[in-house]
Amino acid sequence: MADSALKASIFQRLHPRAYLERFVAESVRPDGRPFDAWRDVSVNVGSISTANGSALVRLGETTIVCGVKAEIAEPELDAPDQGFLVPNIDLPALCSPKFKPGPPSDEAQVLSDRLNEVLSSYQHITSENGLTTCSRTASSPLQMLKTPVSFSFGVFDATLLADPTAFEEPLLDTTISVVVDENGDLVSVVQLGPGVDTGAADTLSTCISSAKTRRVVLGGQIP
């Protein structure tokens, strides 16, 4: 690394907040994106043969591999025709220096709960009722009526940042995440931290509208 880049990274390591403030003052972010720009998303599906369904999604440098395993279980008494959808998010020590090996960290538990709320509140997944015989080759796809996608924002010193990176995330005063499905209906909105009145519209509504527009852009990529 050139000497100046080394000095910059030392400044970033010692005073992250001041470092980000200097960038925000120039209305640009450390990775060169404008405030409302999104990192590009790449999706590829069905690459894992041992899972009944799988997908790999890359959002910038964040990579998530998701697998679905189908098992047979006794339905609940009060919902005989409803199956179970059990989502779990695992943040292993592999993916970032701040995670330690062992049982799921608080952050992993919070994310799993949020995902569970979105999926179960939706009840749009009908279980394959009536199908008793399973064949190794033929398998009917799980009917997914809606495909919700979540978008997250952060507020730092009264500026709204879309899609915050791992460096920006710990410095944010407020985090907002909006879940929108494919025809623009709101599924869930979570705001942690004080909302800030930035200009005309309230922060939340700006986030919701930009989430909707972004959902349309992503429409093509999600099968």
């Binding site: 690394m1 080394l6 990274s9 030392i10 970033q12 390591r13 010692l14 005073h15 992250p16 970032s96 220096p97 701040k98 791992a166 460096f167």
Partner: protein, 185 residues
């Protein structure tokens, strides 16, 4: 003589024919009287030393210059969380623990040092590692003019300016606070 091709760990490095056998820097080791690379990179020779240099975060070693923030103070020592070693920052979330014992704070009047007058929590301190210390922490000294507090925030919350080797002034309130300051470059 820096051969342009990249070497891989375990790959033999041709001995430079002209001149004496070079000293070995980092990234190269000798096995059965043969030079072999232990890093991915291009062997460079500066003067007598042949090495493969990688600007990589590495653990503190004896005599490495470290930068860290003070995390705990006690009458006998100040605990330091080291985040920059030899000018290379450690990745976010990774730190080494260092300790500045009261006798290592300054060179003069070592026995009458008051830690409270030398460091405060949150100060960024530049020091030199004098020993690997014990299982928990490295021993760091600031007993040199260019070592000591490099950045401190006053009670009023403003970045302070060093006025002498043992005190800093807050630009807003003008009050002096006692610190063991490093001589600004």
């Amino acid at each position: 003589m820096s051969s342009s091709s990249y070497c891989l760990p375990g790959q033999p490095i041709p001995l430079p024919r002209n001149g004496p056998v070079p000293q070995l820097g980092g990234g190269i080791y000798v096995r059965d009287s043969e030079l072999r690379a232990s890093l991915v990179g291009i062997p460079q020779q500066e003067g007598p030393v042949l090495s493969i240099s990688r600007v990589r975060p590495r653990p503190p070693a004896i005599n490495s210059v470290v930068l860290g923030s003070v995390t705990r103070l006690s009458p006998l020592q100040a605990t330091l969380s080291i985040s920059v070693v030899d000018g290379v920052p450690l990745p976010a979330g990774e730190e080494f623990t260092g300790v500045i014992r009261s006798q290592d704070v300054r060179a003069t009047e070592k026995d009458r040092v008051k830690i409270g007058d030398s460091f405060r929590g949150g100060d960024v301190v530049r020091g030199v590692v004098i020993s690997l210390g014990d299982a928990r922490s490295y021993f760091v000294t600031t007993a040199r003019n260019d070592l000591g507090v490099v950045f401190a925030v006053s009670e009023a919350g403003k970045t302070m300016v060093p006025v002498s080797w043992q005190s800093m002034r807050c630009p807003e309130t003008g009050r002096l606070e006692k610190r063991k300051c490093a001589k600004p470059e």
